[in-house]
């Protein structure tokens, strides 16, 4: 299983060196990866259908509980097949759709990255692994939404999507860590054993809240739904793949995966039913007022996601069956409609349904695909959508008695709108009289219209033979969500009952709504007003405040004056040290323990003080540097007196080199133009005297504290035994704490690179002038 994740990542990396070739002669290879993976996962279907579950474990960071635990069960397999199956169609389609695009290779790089991340997400059996892949999908989605990065709207939508889903990911991580702490395991398949502990834990509401925030942001639930319509700025194959069939369902996947572990409480049921129910109705109504094809599809997608959340909240056996079938139903017809939209957009240059009509005459196979998808979305008997809709009504009718009526009404209302919206997207552009300017249109290349046609036909095939998918796949999917046997059996005909009446009524009234509702520009403007007061505005306001605050913050601390940085750093250190000194009890200083002064110490201190006076008073930069180096050498001598030869040597060389450095830099500067005013000097002297006083107090205080020699004893004893050396200072640097040194040298290297590139860069621009 691991190789299925790696394959996409490797292909993605291969596009960097071989991008040019993949753009032209090798481009046929691009869709082969998802095709191969799809066939691989199809091979698992018979085994999964028998009820088997597959595990794979590879140690990664075992000390942190982060392991590559993979698990393939019915739920994962459904998603894997969606990702690779629809992915195959999308890859073939995009190959033609983006032909000749300058960033063709980059596009497929992101798409591979996304595919791998998504497969990893649904296979992860470790909560950290799940989180890593979850974030990877957000990041690849960011790049794909902002793919047309020369358009501002595109960049903005990408940022919005990343902010919302990234924020959700943050909450998700917090929630996952909490679950792991409460249960004591990070393996998802083991969490189920701790179900009672988690449910009764005082942190349960918090865990659930954080997890829900993660799922709702990813799956575009109200009030976070607004990023999804914005994400439609992405190229259409991306919208079809990420933003309807797979990535947005990651939130649903999360809820489904944790259903057996966390569900069953009022909090779970009512939150999900409330949010999901509201979202599905809200978005369904919104979709009716749109005229942009992708916009319609975006809102119906949000509505469908709401439906899935709602079903998972309901949580009965019927609801879970309905959810597991509806995921597939929706992916099939919605991906088709998106791909059809892409073809229309590609051929006519517009997605405005008020301008499109009669295209069936020129794009016949596309019209067939769109028609089949629209019918499946409407739930016409004999389509797969009909079965999905049936199961949803079955679920609402089997809910608790008090709720049956209201839930069924909500479900019907939503479905009415979805029927009409589906027709708007799937029928409207193809019927009526063909406008003159479109008469010369011709069918696009085969690889663009065959994928939607296949997806749409599957909707019909599964509708006519539901057992095909029901017995082999959906049954096990439902079982792994429900955590028990769901006794599900899909059939095309359930007899003449309430559900059938409801289904037919929905279809009839929905069609009526379609004919009555005439989409127009005015209606779009009308409904957009409601989006203004929506959470989007509130969140945008917050985002702007944050940007303003960080601007102010950066300008204050990062104002470009070295002296200001020094001042702030020293003041901050002083504040911390004073706080610590204040809290550590009375300061006792014992002068008796000090060694008596010797004559050469006194001499060095006198030289040091003399140099200090020169540093402060001299009007020349070079003089002050030289005086500074005198101070440095005096300190070196002190080290020598107190037998620290290593320190003395280092300090001596460092001082020499820093003097050289200073001279080199300051030599190029003019002499002091304006010296600090008296007021500034007082301020500076107070800060520096304070700092010196605090450090002196600490140094004297240390003498009074009992000396702990554990660390130095350890090094002293083990230096020769473990590291075969006698110079402890050097052994610490090169052996005991070698990793520290390693990274310090890396930091040094980075600093040198920084200086080098900054100066070279300036040289270049001055050379230009």
């Amino acid at each position: 299983m691991l190789f299925t994740i790696l394959l996409g990542l490797i292909s993605s990396i291969l596009l960097i060196p071989f991008g040019k070739r993949f753009k032209s002669s090798w481009s046929i290879l691009l869709p082969l990866v998802p095709t191969a993976l799809f066939i691989y996962y199809l091979g698992y279907v018979p085994k999964i259908a028998e009820g088997l579950t597959f595990f794979q474990e590879i140690n990664w960071v075992p000390s942190l509980g982060v392991n590559f635990n993979l698990k393939l069960d019915g739920l994962s397999l459904l998603f894997c097949l969606l990702i690779t199956g629809i992915g195959t169609g999308i890859f073939f389609y995009a190959r033609t759709y983006l032909k000749g695009h300058p960033f063709y290779d980059r596009f497929f790089g992101y798409l591979y990255l996304f595919m791998s991340a998504m497969i990893g997400l649904v296979l992860s059996d470790n909560i950290f692994l799940l989180f890593i892949f979850w974030e990877l999908t957000s990041i690849s989605s960011f790049f794909l939404i902002g793919f047309n990065n020369d358009q501002e709207a595109s960049r903005k939508s990408a940022m919005t999507a990343l902010t919302i889903t990234g924020m959700g990911g943050f909450f998700l991580l917090a929630g996952l860590v909490l679950i792991g702490n409460v249960a004591g395991t990070y393996k998802i398949s083991e969490l189920i054993e701790y179900r009672d502990i988690i449910l009764n834990h005082p942190q349960y509401p918090l865990i659930l809240g954080l997890l829900f925030l993660g799922a709702f942001t990813k799956s575009a639930q109200f009030p976070f739904h607004f990023w999804l319509p914005g994400a439609m700025k992405a190229p259409t194959p991306v919208s079809a793949y990420l933003h309807s069939a797979t990535m947005v369902k990651a939130g649903i996947y999360l809820l489904a995966r944790f259903f057996p572990i966390l569900s069953g409480t009022d909090l779970w049921t009512y939150t999900l039913m409330g949010v999901g129910g509201f979202t599905m109705l809200y978005a369904a109504i919104h979709s009716l007022f749109r005229i942009d094809l992708k916009s319609i599809l975006a809102y119906t997608t949000i509505s469908a996601l709401g439906m899935l959340v709602f079903l998972l909240g309901l949580g009965t056996k019927e609801a879970i069956i309905a959810a597991s079938v509806f995921i597939l139903v929706h992916a099939l017809y919605k991906a088709t409609l998106f791909l059809v939209t892409g073809i229309i957009d590609h051929e006519t240059g517009t997605r405005d349904i008020t301008k499109l009509a009669g295209l069936r005459k020129v794009l016949a196979p596309v019209a067939v695909a769109a028609g089949l998808a629209a019918l499946s979305s409407a739930g016409l008997p004999s389509t797969f959508g009909f079965i999905g809709k049936d199961l949803i009504y079955e679920a609402t009718l089997h809910a608790e008695k008090n709720w049956v009526l209201i839930l069924t009404i909500i479900a019907i209302a939503t479905n009415l709108c979805l029927v009409a919206a589906g027709f708007m997207a799937g029928f409207k552009p193809f019927f009526g009289t063909l406008p003159k300017q479109y008469e010369k249109l011709h069918l696009p290349y085969k690889s663009m219209w065959i994928p939607p046609l296949i997806l749409a036909s599957l909707g019909l095939i599964f509708g006519l033979a539901p057992g095909l998918v029901g017995d082999y796949l959906s049954y096990q999917t439902a079982n792994s969500i429900f955590g028990a046997d769901t006794e599900m059996h899909l059939a095309i005909w359930h007899g003449f009952n309430t559900v059938l009446i409801l289904s037919l009524a929905t279809l009839g009234i929905g069609t009526l709504v379609y004919f009555i509702n005439k989409p127009s520009e005015l209606k779009v403007n009308f409904i957009e007003k409601f989006e203004r007061i929506s959470p989007q505005q509130v969140l945008t306001g917050y985002a702007n405040d944050i940007v303003r605050f960080s601007g102010w913050f950066t300008n204050f601390f990062h104002n470009g004056y070295l002296r200001s940085y020094h001042m702030k750093i020293i003041l901050f250190a002083e504040a911390l040290l004073i706080y610590k000194l204040w809290n550590s009890g009375p300061i006792q200083i014992d002068f008796d323990n000090l060694t008596p002064l010797t004559i050469y110490e006194v001499a060095v201190v006198i030289i040091l003080l003399g140099a200090l006076v020169i540093v402060i008073s001299t009007p020349s930069r070079l003089t002050s540097i030289v005086a500074m180096s005198v101070i440095g050498y005096c300190i070196c001598l002190m080290y020598v007196f107190y037998s620290a030869p290593d320190l003395a040597m280092t300090q001596f060389t460092i001082d020499t080199l820093s003097t050289v450095l200073f001279v080199l830099v300051l030599y190029k500067l003019p002499s002091f133009l304006n010296l600090a005013s008296a007021k500034q000097r007082y301020r500076d002297s107070i800060v520096s005297l304070g700092f010196g006083a605090i450090l002196s107090i600490i140094a004297l205080k240390v003498l009074y504290e009992p000396i702990q020699t554990e660390t130095s004893d350890f090094y002293g004893e083990n230096a020769y035994i473990l590291a075969k050396g006698k110079n402890v200072v050097n052994l610490i640097l090169a052996d005991f704490r070698g990793i520290d040194t390693m990274f310090e040298t890396v930091v040094l290297g980075i600093a040198a690179l920084g200086v080098y590139s900054l100066l070279k860069l300036r040289l270049k621009s001055s050379e230009k002038e």
Partner: protein, 137 residues
């Protein structure tokens, strides 16, 4: 301003100082010294040479950009860190040559680590100083 005395002196000082820096590097394991100090002394030797003869002349002696010493040094250190893992030991474990080498004494992976530090330090110091001194106003 070029001083003949300094120019003549550096001709002899440069090799002596470099030898001294290498001595510091080698003895670091037992006596005061080590890669860091050794590197600093070596850089001082080159800086002194550049003062007497000009930075361009020193660059000629070096033959290559000092910047290139940084990756070489980091590479040597990194290899000495990773090497023990090939013998099934945790990274950073000290590996020692069985027999004593005349003059130098025991040779172990720690020496190579120090050698890496030595080269990085020279690379960093000379990159910074020479880049600044070669910058035209």
């Amino acid at each position: 301003m070029r001083s003949i005395i300094l120019q003549t002196a550096t001709r002899y000082l440069l090799p002596i100082l470099l030898l001294f820096s290498f001595f510091l590097l080698l003895r670091g394991h037992y006596y005061p010294g080590g890669g860091f100090v050794g590197g600093l002394v070596a850089s001082i030797a080159f800086v002194l040479h550049s003062f007497a003869n000009g930075t361009e002349a020193t660059m000629k002696i070096l033959r290559r950009k000092p910047l290139s010493l940084i990756p070489i040094g980091l590479g040597i250190s990194a290899v000495s860190v990773v090497l023990p893992t090939f013998f099934g030991l945790p990274p950073m474990t000290g590996l020692w040559w069985e027999e004593k080498v005349p003059v130098i004494g025991m040779i172990g992976s720690a020496l190579f680590f120090d050698l890496g530090v030595y080269l990085v330090v020279i690379g960093v110091v000379l990159t910074i100083l020479f880049t600044i001194s070669l910058t035209k106003d």
